[in-house]
Symmetry: C2
Subunit: 368 residues, 2 copies
């Protein structure tokens, strides 16, 4: 293996595939990145066997071959190289020689043939989605994925496509996040993708200059493609919760509220209760005023916000964290809160349109 590339191209490719490399692996070869020259193409690849990332590296090829190099070492090394051409040559005993200006490295690598292959995902149906929409859909739902693994299917997000509408759904038993958008492909899909895959996809999409992401899948694997970068992930098995049944269709109280004001008030109210387990804040919607209260042995907080209430007054209590998580990622100026009773979930919707639906379960309200 012998090729010439540049520091910038090498750094970009290493940064992408490194996201699939696991730090906690029992297979030492998986701590490495595969460098492989074949069919006039330079490939880099990393995998932890759950997610695999392959990308192409531009460069001038002199000869074929492959080697696995420690991801940690190569990423730090490339970052510190001078900004110039980089010459890579594989020598005997899997030693990779790297030259760049007056720097020369000989790195002990491992046999490239021992690196696991990426599963092939061949599918006729490839879905194309705008990259910025794709990133928003991940960012605005991923915080609601279940953190513990009691119900494994909830450690991923449902990606559902139907009638030209794509939906990302995450729920953890206390809250639900649903984000939807339009796509042009007339295709059906309903698969559950692990949280880690989505968070790495978000980072890789942020590094890419391309406009769209292509998605295809087989029974057990899903492939996301950004130009010459392929991200293959296993799918979670099992039935996702029927989320439509959980979202209340009617309400007795509708409240229009400014997002920034509500977020600031929730954050201040949560200061006193943050060390507690419940993070309990109490909301009282009455006479176009929202009063938020919290108290602990540290002290009390009392907040008031002007809101527009339609329907009945209501007193209801929440874990402030769940409210703050949602309010932080909403970019709209105003939202609608919908309630039925003080023991039913609060639905958070856009004031206009239907891009997102968030649902938060209340906690028991005890009046002091």
């Amino acid at each position: 293996m012998n090729f010439i590339t540049t520091k910038d191209d090498l750094l970009h490719s290493v940064n992408i595939v490194q996201k699939a490399v696991s730090n906690k692996t029992t297979l030492p070869i998986l701590e490495g990145i595969l460098f492989k020259v074949m069919d006039n193409t330079i490939y880099l690849m990393g995998t932890d066997l759950e997610i695999g990332i392959k990308t192409e590296l531009p460069g001038k090829i002199n000869s074929q071959g492959s080697v696995v190099i420690s991801a940690k070492l190569i990423s730090e090394l490339v970052r510190k190289l001078p900004d110039d051409d980089v010459f890579l040559e594989l020598n005997e005993n899997y030693i990779l020689n790297i030259k760049c200006l007056n720097s020369e490295f000989n790195i002990q690598g491992q046999n490239g043939n021992e690196f696991p292959q990426l599963p092939e995902v061949h599918s006729d149906k490839e879905i194309s989605i705008n990259k910025e929409l794709f990133k928003s859909m991940i960012k605005e739902t991923i915080f609601s994925v279940a953190k513990n693994e009691n119900i494994p299917i909830l450690t991923g997000e449902l990606i559902e496509i139907n009638d030209g509408i794509i939906k990302f759904v995450a729920l953890d038993g206390y809250r639900l996040a649903l984000r939807q958008g339009k796509i042009n492909d007339n295709i059906e899909l309903s698969e559950v993708v692990p949280e880690r895959t989505l968070s790495e996809l978000y980072r890789i999409a942020s590094l890419s200059t391309l406009d769209s992401v292509q998605i295809s899948h087989t029974k057990n694997q899903i492939l996301f493609r950004l130009g010459q970068t392929h991200i293959v992930s296993r799918l979670l098995e099992g039935e996702f919760m029927n989320y439509n049944q959980i979202i209340p269709q009617n309400s007795t109280t509708k409240v229009k509220v400014n997002v920034a004001e509500l977020l600031s008030s929730c954050e201040r109210a949560s200061l006193m209760v943050r060390d507690g387990k419940s993070n309990l804040i109490k909301m009282n919607f009455i006479n176009n005023i929202l009063e938020i209260k919290s108290n602990s042995e540290m002290g009390t907080v009392n907040e008031q916000i002007d809101v527009e209430i339609e329907g009945e007054s209501i007193k209801i209590a929440f874990n402030s964290t769940y409210f703050i998580d949602v309010l932080k990622i909403i970019s709209d100026e105003e939202i609608l809160l919908e309630f039925t009773t003080s023991v039913s979930p609060c639905v958070i919707k856009p004031n206009q349109g239907s891009n997102y639906t968030y649902l938060i379960l209340p906690v028991r309200y005890i009046d002091h």
Copy 2:
């Protein structure tokens, strides 16, 4: 106690005094900030009994009094307040009422009279030093302070004033950092200030808009004053090492080298040996070339830099960390390295002037 101030002024003052508050204290009252109104002045104060910081808060005073409030809670709370006037009033049972627009807090405080007093530092001799010089002197020496407490006096820096020259000296047995500058006061001083005091001073000086720092001291305490902010610290007892004896006065090899090139090469060379204990890199100065080598089971690095050598060729090895620490904070483009033998310290000096002197002990060079 009753006064009105603004969110910005309150935040600034809390940020300053909070730097003296310890998180690991056995005296719960020291986790708090003292708010005290006396003699038409609002004071804030924090201390961990080693360092104490007092500052004045601008505001309109209605009545006197004092209370101690959790530093963690008040700093987070003030940061999240709306940008407006803040009304503070002390009520019964040391409960502090804070109002700002539509937010109201009642915080459980503690009796202000139980808070320790700052030691008084009365001295006729007050030294004035330019703030930027003061900051540079800290930044460019503090990394050489001893990390372990085997020799307690080395956990601080010597501040020495003589003949209008101020010197900061730090040394840890493997290296020495000396930075000097001019001051106008004709005064003598030789005191050892704890590392923590200097690092907090650096941060407080960075927050200040003032141009100079005033220094005065008694037998056991030193006072740094930035306008209305007073930082009092204990001094370290004992005799500081006679650093002049350690610095070689002659050399047999003088090398002029570009700082950025040497830093990059040292960083790359240290990649292979970083996990090792010694971080050993080998330097070979010959024929106006500096060759840097390192090797481990991970691989080898070979770096070459053009330099100007005056005197004898020399082979010498170092812990790369010590070289990198120094090179990172030098703002000059070029420096001089001076050597005598491969077991004698390397002296690092400016190419022109005498603002700083660094000294690094070599490690044993074994040729492979």
